[in-house]
Symmetry: C2
Subunit: 196 residues, 2 copies
């Protein structure tokens, strides 16, 4: 029970850290800023977390692991390639709208990871991209997808959703459903209306 | 003649500055770095350019003006809305692949503009986005485009091409034609292959 409470506190500190890193950048945030925002004195906070580097590592690997675990589930499902790719785009949107600060840190501040962690993180990302690209490749082979350049398609999909991280907020008058529908429509059916 | 030579030198300095800002960031680049890269002593360089701020302003407003001028030409053409929007996406790709460093600076370092220039730049950008969104709106009204959320469509199009600035290089085995075809296919026709 004591363990669990400690874990929750730790998670809460990491969440607040992610928001600070997103606002002020990893380099621009000090442990003192964090302690202040958390409402603890620094000495107490070090009981939960040992360093800024540890926080960054926890955030980046937490996000990378979520992506890879979910990708595994999507790959092993019975769906068509189109459905699998749609599920991946939805996963990106879902993480950006529910864990926006963490995703932003993993997208922008990963370069401040310590050298060893940095290499591991890059490998995970490249592994994820390769498996994502394979789904595109297999979908084309199966005749479900248009004949496009695989790498260009991969980066176009990944990039088309990136703005959401910077821009989307629940109170801007666009629902999550509208967001998802418009993006999926454009990427999979195209903006041009097909004449009946 | 003397004037023209001075202009060319100035343009060359600004081009090299854009590459340095892209590599090392605006804050991370000093006028000394620039002079070294240009191969001039600093005193001579100041004959062509007065400050880092002036360079940044020239780059950002140069890019913004190009976008707005081209948008004007596209708007006033006789093409369909689909063709106009495709021409805008091509314009973004064209600028990113021919003026990659300048576009990158205008996309990332504009926040270091002096307060007055900053406001003017933001106004230009917002003006461009509004006119781009109007083309989407009018295309939907004309029945050429799918019924999508206008803002989401705008940011999805603008964002889908952003990765090109960071990733595309002529020697990576993907031609400009493949790049353009794949991106236009995905955004306007969709990745899903239509069954005949």
């Amino acid at each position: 029970m004591a363990k669990k409470k400690k874990d929750l506190r730790r998670e809460n500190i990491i969440e607040i850290a992610a928001q600070l890193f997103k606002q002020k950048g990893f380099s621009g945030t000090s442990m003192r800023d964090l302690a202040e925002q958390v409402g603890m004195d620094a000495a107490t906070m070090y009981h939960y977390i040992s360093s800024k580097d540890e926080i960054l590592k926890t955030i980046c690997f937490g996000i990378a692991t979520t992506y890879i675990t979910q990708l595994g589930e999507i790959e092993s499902s019975d769906s068509s390639y189109i459905e699998k790719l749609k599920a991946l785009v939805r996963l990106h949107l879902h993480l950006m709208t529910t864990k926006g600060a963490e995703v932003s840190v993993a997208n922008n501040d990963w370069k401040y990871l310590s050298p060893e962690a940095l290499q591991e993180f890059k490998d995970l990302r490249s592994h994820y991209e390769k498996r994502f690209a394979s789904l595109i490749e297999e979908g084309i082979q199966a005749g479900e997808l248009q004949e496009v350049n695989r790498s260009v398609a991969l980066f176009t999909l990944l990039s088309a959703v990136r703005w959401v991280e910077l821009w989307w907020k629940p109170n801007r008058g666009i629902t999550l459903e509208e967001l998802e529908n418009t993006i999926l429509t454009i990427l999979f059916n195209g903006l041009e209306k097909k004449q009946p």
